[in-house]
Amino acid sequence: MTGATQADTYSGGFRQPVFDAQGVFRVALDALARPGRIMPLAARTKPPRPMPPLLADILSALADQDTSVFLCPALLAKAPSAAGWVRFQTGAANVKNPAEADFVVASHPENLPPLSQLSPGTPDYPDRSATVLVAVPGFDGGLPVTLSGPGIKDKIAFSPDGMSRGLWQQLVANHALYPRGIDVIFVAGEAVVGLPRSTRIEIGEV
């Protein structure tokens, strides 16, 4: 490893680990408790470019030696030191097989592995499932969907950029597995949006 990538690996973590982790967690909790709502979250980490900092923030808050992380190959191709950064900053194991991962991380929805490959948990333990952290270019301008379910009063419109119809169909299929299934946290710029498995998704406007 060269000196430059070592510096990349060892720097850029939370500056105040206790309060940064708490702050990021509370926004993530709020995001999953109120799906489809855009929750502001200022980035606290500086991961190797071009890894989106909010993905690194959420990993830093939640991942540790008890968890495994899958970083999508497209992200690793552009930011090869991201794997070492996540390993050093969180202690989490990097896995090559997305089916084994607690956290599946992608810098664009196109780079996600097929969602059916990810762990949806078991009927007895639906909590033993993967959480997807995915960066989108923005929270508007994409294919509109309508969300309803726990955490949502009536309905809410959501149209993140970069999401294909096929991917939304995979998420509709994911909800059909309920209570099994994966949970998704979208990040863009300085905000996050939660989409737990409990949310009903209708492709199209309200």
Partner: protein, 300 residues
């Protein structure tokens, strides 16, 4: 701000991490909380820690509170609705010492409310989190003692046994006899124990604006109800769910439609019924201090 709740040098008390728990424990609890929110009513197992208080005194609620609490939070702790009873005072003091957070007794001012066995009378808002202390999280436990079996029953949404229990209540007593820890169905999927709140409080859980989190320390389970989630108390068409009703208003503030505690006044049957929610009661007393203290005595 220093990351530990630093103690003045002059008193040699130990220095704790913010909110007592170590960071790895908080991460583990936080991951469980996110799963709990994503699967409303499902009990997520977690590696509950020993806390500096015995099981049964809210160790589950304390661990959940410690994991969500930040330096800007305002904490309220109630025990059976009261801010001034042993459990509430002790836990409030615990977080004042280990997290140095602001505390309050006013429901609207709190961002995190830890509760034992009550939901405040004041309607909760979207900026609030209600943390319940839970003794037995498994609603089926007294019907089926084996965890393997109850887990399978939840997995299959097989809740016939619970309906048989409610039916047997009707056969024996003429009505559903449960008055507290009254089972609910969350989001049309999981049957959940709402903790030993009076069934009077059950309707407050439905479509609530606030996030509700449940922690059972000894039983090592965490579960949650996100805001605006359907929470239905189990019943039958011909025996619909009903909450307790009180014929008299609160003897101190005169409020009706609130949950009242019986207070024994003497050994001759004297008693009064007062709000169990002390904050609500104090703020609803007439301002001129002439509240009719309608102490009523049972006919002797």
């Amino acid at each position: 701000m220093n990351e530990t709740a630093a103690i003045d040098a002059k008193d040699a008390a130990p220095v704790y991490n913010f909110a007592y728990l170590d960071e790895q424990t908080k991460r583990m609890i936080r991951r469980a909380l996110l799963k709990a929110v994503a699967i409303p009513g499902y009990q997520v197992p977690f590696a509950s820690r020993e806390m500096p208080m015995p099981y049964g005194w809210g160790t589950g609620g304390v661990q959940v509170t410690a994991s969500v609490l930040g330096p800007d939070d305002v904490l309220k702790v109630i025990d059976q609705g009261a801010d001034d009873t042993t459990n509430a005072v002790a836990i409030r003091g615990f977080f004042e010492k280990t997290a140095r957070v602001a505390t309050t007794t006013v429901t609207e001012e709190a961002t995190v409310i830890q509760t034992r066995h009550r939901i405040p009378e004041t309607r909760l808002g979207a900026n609030q989190i209600l943390v319940y202390q839970v003794p037995i999280p498994e609603p089926l436990r007294y019907l089926e003692p084996r965890e393997v079996e109850t887990r399978k029953m939840h997995g299959l949404a097989e809740y016939g046994l619970m309906h048989v229990k409610l039916y047997e209540d009707i056969a024996k007593h003429g009505h559903i006899a449960a008055t507290y820890a009254y089972p609910v169905n969350v989001n049309g999927r999981y049957v959940m124990d709402p903790s030993p709140i009076p069934k009077f409080d059950n309707p407050k859980m439905d479509d609530c604006e606030a996030l509700q989190l449940f922690g059972a320390g000894r039983e090592k389970r965490i579960y949650a109800i996100p805001p605006h989630t359907s929470v239905v108390s189990l019943d039958f068409e011909d025996h619909p769910f009903k909450v307790q009703e009180f014929s008299e208003p609160c003897a101190l503030c005169g409020s009706r439609g609130v949950y009242l505690d019986e207070v024994i006044l003497d050994d001759r049957g004297g008693r009064m019924f007062v709000c169990s929610d002390t904050d609500y009661c104090e703020r609803h007393r007439p301002e001129d201090g002439t509240a009719p203290v309608a102490v009523w005595e049972e006919e002797r």
